[in-house]
Symmetry: C2
Subunit: 490 residues, 2 copies
């Protein structure tokens, strides 16, 4: 099975892995060296790749050169470059040197750590580094692995909210009977990520029992405790069963921050599972000056932060802490004979398969461990502070331009802004802002995304890519202004 | 922020990535070079790592040398070496040169491909390579991406069966009303993976409506169509709603193969969603001589195979094909404003976020693409045939030893065997087989796992690691015999 280079690629061989691995390291390093040459948002059209690749797999081996040539010529044009310094869309998904090394090592060891016994180091390192990050965040002791609580790495914030929603659902149904599912009520604000809606769909919560409580600019889109209290009281009166509340620290749309202490008080007094989604902003809370935004977390039953957004840890690495691991494992564990082993049977160990949706799981704690050690917590704090400084500068640039307005005050490194309405025509203004966004994104020089707040289309500039510097932020603003002036004078 | 080597590690820098990336490639290549020096099953005790690592993250950077020293001294002893040539437990989880390179490239590009627009290449390459593998498996046209069907990479077979169970559940409830959840019935054999039980727990199917149909050695633990038909008829008479059947091709315990055509006929005639779990054995079905085992797949609604088990594609890469993508997306899609984009709104593209549990997803199709191209389908077929040949040899060695018996005939590369009962004392025989397994595994020279079939404890030798050669299989049998003779003469 010649592959044209005279050498047969074995399934696994240490020296071929070495040789090809070095070639791939150089390919990836060169990619980062030239990343600013690419349009940030891919400019290809739907179906582009089908025309460029054969419609079946080759019978015989091809060479790595052939494949990498195709990556350059056919794959990279179809990539939206999340690691570009001019990527300001959604939220960042950091790839760092340390995170990349940890992902390499995980892929290299190739272990599957569903139970303690299938690689004790994988489970124990995860417990340890989740305790490390809990300490950096000053989370309550009950979230640490010593007691009945603990931390676990999930694949995404969607899986984090789903597993705790199921734990909460089954905890209630065990006491009131499973036919009461139709009475269970979930509460969140209208700013909560769609992951909660999806989790409710999966867990069978009736759509009419998902209370999406209205917020507005008066609270910068934070959930007012009064509206939660009113909704809970109404439902109790109607004989329904309030059982789950998802609060947000740093919503996707505008980094709104819900008042955790006040909400937690209501949740705790009504036996409602209180989950805190700090997927984006949780990273900033390792900085003392931002820790205030999770004050009240001590009243929460679970807390989630994505280290794969803004904590230099390559996707996927969503950190979930719970105070009561039993409710999680009661809902998610199965105990088939072929997975039974002495350590698990003796209840001496954690089997993370029972804390998550899938069975198999990668050695993801390696990359978090390497990020924490190769950078240190002080470097991580200054990394986050630097992005917030850049966002402050961008916010000032926007505020100085009368064509634009800041729609909601910036807290972290996301700036929400828009072209102001001309002669108060909101509908036209929304269209104009959509046009501006399209023009900016199709220039290829930067990529932003949008949201809607109180019916206004809002442009979001989320600063958080590891390579982003001041010059990229200034250049972005220059392009936005140019496209805006062209649009306004069209 | 010195890190002792005089150099500050930046969040991302192409030349530091190059320098450190090369060091990590060598570390991983050296690991494979010395992998046979490690005990296959880690011999550490619970809690070992807590004593070896500090209880909080460092404030300041440490060097890669310090971290890699700790990997050698503290992590590797706690690793169970899934890539060892003497790893015969569970099922294999292949790490290959090509798979490793693909995972590196995915981590390097660091994209998040939840919608087509967030990296068109990620979605389109996944559609293309899932079509490639569907062709290699000779799956029906309806599973291909041209029509309303298509393929998607899930993280695990657990997520694959969960998403189709939810699609099937919601499809039925849309027609009979959501309060009929308590009438929905799921069917499977008693050999079906615990992933189905977990999926039913998550989806809220009532435990008493999960029909786990008995199998026995008379059918080599395959599900008899008659027992499915009887169960379905009984439930229809009782006014229940049969809605989901999970059949197996290559069960975890003993590679039992259910008769898909006969079961499919019953499912189709009763409007039951028919899912086929070929997580392990699906890979073998690219070989014409094994394709027979998925005859009848044309009657299935969904088909799942783990490329990360025995198809040289690093975990995680579970391939799911469905005939009707709409039922999947209807159950799993959400459409928040901040994710809206032209291509999705115009229905021109696939947004894989609506085919899975999480929102975010890695560029996993790269590693499957690279495995298919760098090895070619013929190499993959011979790779699988070689493991089956080795398993045949192991089976013959076992059959020649009167102390042992083959418990159920081998089909693929898993051999199910045990020490025979002495004077027909089954209970003691089970304990003796457990003791043998413990002795073999604590020798560190190989790692096997077990199962139970008809109350008998059975040792499973699953041959499938990329580095496994004939000498490893012969050596394994030698050790098993030595430990057995010691045990029998104790």
């Amino acid at each position: 099975m010649e592959n044209g280079s005279g050498k047969v690629l074995k399934p696994m061989d240490s020296e071929q892995l070495r040789e090809y691995g070095h070639l791939m390291v150089d390919f990836i390093a060169d990619y980062y060296k030239t990343i600013e040459d690419f349009p940030v948002l891919s400019q290809v059209q739907p179906g582009y790749l089908h025309k460029l690749l054969p419609d079946s797999a080759p019978d015989h081996p091809e060479t790595l050169d052939q494949v990498l040539d195709d990556v350059r010529a056919k794959i990279l044009p179809g990539v939206t470059h999340w690691q570009s310094p001019s990527f300001f869309a959604y939220y960042p998904s950091n790839s760092s040197v340390a995170g990349f090394l940890g992902e390499m090592l995980s892929a290299g060891l190739g272990i599957v750590g569903f139970s303690w016994v299938t690689s004790p180091a994988a489970t124990e390192l995860e417990m340890i580094v989740l305790d490390w990050v809990a300490k950096l965040l000053n989370l309550p002791e009950q979230f640490m692995s010593k007691g009945n609580g603990g931390g676990v790495i999930q694949g995404s914030a969607s899986e984090a909210v789903l597993v705790v929603l199921i734990a909460a659902r089954d905890k209630v149904l065990r006491s009131v009977g499973k036919n009461a599912l139709e009475k269970l009520v979930v509460y969140s604000s209208d700013q909560t990520h769609s992951a909660l809606q999806k989790a409710c769909q999966i867990a069978g919560i009736h759509p009419e029992n998902c209370r999406v409580l209205t917020t507005d600019s008066s609270t910068n889109y934070a959930l007012r405790p009064e509206s939660l209290q009113e909704a809970v009281s109404r439902d109790l009166e109607a004989g329904l069963i309030p059982f789950f509340l998802c609060a947000n620290v740093g919503t996707t749309s505008s980094t709104a921050v819900d008042p955790l202490a006040a909400l937690g008080k209501i949740a705790n007094s009504n036996g409602i599972w209180f989950h805190v989604d700090a997927a984006y902003a949780g990273s900033a809370c390792i900085c003392p000056e931002y820790r205030q935004y999770i004050d009240g977390v001590e009243t929460a039953d679970s807390f989630n932060m994505n280290a794969h957004k803004w904590f230099l840890t390559n996707f996927d690495c969503s950190l979930l802490w719970v105070k009561d691991q039993d409710s999680l494992t009661l809902a998610l564990s199965t105990n088939p004979e072929f997975l039974k082993n002495k350590a698990s049977q003796a209840n001496l160990v954690v089997d993370y398969k029972d804390w998550q949706i899938p069975l198999g799981r990668r050695f993801r704690s390696l990359k978090l461990w390497m990020v924490l050690r190769l950078y240190g917590s002080e470097t991580l704090k200054s990394y986050i502070r630097n992005h917030i400084k850049l966002a402050k500068e961008f916010e000032q640039l926007v505020s100085q331009d009368p064509n634009f307005e800041i729609v909601t005050p910036r807290i972290f490194a996301l700036v929400c802004f828009r072209l102001v309405p001309v002669k108060d025509e909101e509908k036209k203004c929304n269209n104009r802002n959509r046009e501006l966004l399209d023009a900016v994104n199709s220039s290829g020089k930067l990529f932003m995304s949008h949201t809607a707040l109180s019916g206004k289309i809002v442009l979001r500039c989320a600063i958080g890519a590891p390579l982003t510097e001041e010059k990229h932020v200034k250049e972005a603003w220059k392009i936005i202004q140019e496209e805006a002036s062209y649009l306004l004078h069209k």
